[in-house]
Amino acid sequence: MDFLTSKSADVSEITNTALDSHPDARSPDKPIIIEPSQAWAAFDLRSLWTYRELVYFLMWRDLKVRYKQTFLGMAWAIMQPLLTTLIFTIFLGKLARVPSDDIPYPIFVYAGLLPWTFFANAFISSGNSVVGNAHLVSKVYFPRIIIPISAVGGRLVDFAISFSIFIGLMAYYGVAVTWNILMLPALVALVALFALAVGMWTSALNVKYRDVGVALPVLIQFWMFASPVVYPSSLVPPRWRWAYAINPLTGVIDGFRSALFGREFNWVALAVSTGITLILLAYAFYAFRRMEKDFADLI
């Protein structure tokens, strides 16, 4: 990390600006007001922006701690999807002969595991994030929403690493890159927002009902088979497709494959995914705000 080693500092300049740039620095006649809040109080996006450095530091801490004591370190971010791909290829691709829309099964399943692993890890990390940071919540103030956001953000780095491996796999299997790949950033953002929506809501609920944290891994396991991760969505009978598409991950994972393999996008499914994600996100923001004021008392 560059800032840890850089020692250059223009002292006179910083002493003048350091205090003024602080999150809580306001003009003296504009005080910080503390009052019982209203349930519908608007979410203060400005305070989130002023604390953006803390988002970065919490992400950095999580990544650092996650890989510091493991022998292989960051290599785990690569090994995890590769090993999973290997297992699914052997058991589902070779033995069970699950169809894969004429794409070699290893990259078919890897392309599905990319968004899925990101979603599952981000969901679990953010769902447990508030409880996991109880010592911060009960001792220091900052917008609580930073906690689930940085948990999702940290998993984005893992995603970037496993994606770089995918580029190698695509070259190996001779898959041509098409213009469709330009949709990828939007799809990644959609997965991140969806993981944030469910993760944020879960993290708040987890403070009060700890069984939520216990139930998460079970839910995740079920959810994987309810999404087109290891099999193509064309396997689902047409009359059930509509129900299948309610799961926002259906549209997103299919979208990932379309972007990576140059197939036709299913715009209807993507629109459904986006719509459901935005509605859930709005609800999660509201629910989180309603519950966050009790965090310190319950945690």
Partner: protein, 423 residues
Amino acid sequence: MKLTIKVENLSKQYHLGASHASLMTLREALAGAFSAPLRRLRDNSRTAAREVVWALQDVSFEVRPGEVVGIIGRNGAGKSTLLKVLSRITEPTAGRVELYGRIGSLLEVGTGFHPELTGRENIFLNGAILGMKRREIELKFDEIVAFAETEKFLDTPVKRYSSGMYMRLAFAVAAHLEPEILLVDEVLAVGDAAFQKKCLGKMGEVARQGRTVLFVSHNMGAVLQLCSRAMVLTGGRCVLDGDVSTAVSAYLSEARSTDNAATFDTEPDKDVQIISMSVSSLDGESLSTHPYTEPFCVRISYRVKHWKVGSYVCVDVFNEADMRLLWSSDVTSVDDMMVERPAGVYEARVIVPGMVLAPGRYYFTAAIYAPGRSAFDARDRAVSVEITDSGSLLSNFGIKPHAATMIPLSWETTKEKEVGRRA
């Protein structure tokens, strides 16, 4: 006049047994979340039935820049709740606070320190958590390291630090926060004497720079040394706000009991609860005065609902000047740590030997701690005894002891050298 803190009718309510909510099933939780408006209706009716506790009640005060205000009171008087509300960790139930300037709250030393990260990394992480900008931390980095005296270990994970080094580093970061308003909660209770002195010095410095400090402490010495003004909280209300020496003596006379026995209301929620304390002679006879030469007994009865292995009972002895003279616990060996106490009522007796406490009045605090240092129950200065001078030789000569303890030590005198009348 300019103000930095303005608190108006601040109240904070807690629901007793709020933690029981965690026993609700996931099904109820999910159902409730999807029918939020309905649930709120139900919650209201339930709230009425539940018992509530006012941790803060109608507290109002104003603080001007540069004032150092001590907040004192017994355990559970609302001191920590007040600081938590002011630092925006928890919301008030009613009332309003206006804060003018940047707030730094030090409710704990080393909040957010991660054992796996190095000293250098933790300075940045902890600084960011306390609200410092990265540039600001970079600028003060050398100063922080110098203050903490940990240059050599900057790239060592803090889990390998000694506890003294850890505390110094953690306090060093917080001390360089430079807020206009500093809220400090009992952080000086940890660390060695040199460290405490350093912390007190730093806080005095902060105050001299014209910043406002709110300081919660049980250490009356530190409060007297540091603060110009103090508030006494009792049961969530501010009962006195004024000159520090007036407040401290009011607190001490309120806080200490001059009874030699006390019984406490049953609190069924507590896993372990102290139900009574008394001072008595060795044969169980109740005492309010006791001769200096004779041993006596402090009895602590407690009720156990759920015992945790490793818990211990301890007693503190304070003198009239509120100095902690003695501390003792019922754990004296490894076997004691392993004791399992099934539900029931127990009595712990500790014998204070004669010829230790000099004549004067002494106050006894009893506490039961669970492993990990969270108290099951604590009773602060709940009983006391007057030690009388029972004809020590000194008293025959009319000499009063001027030390806190007076213990017979062995003396020996030998003649070293023969000296002539005219040396």
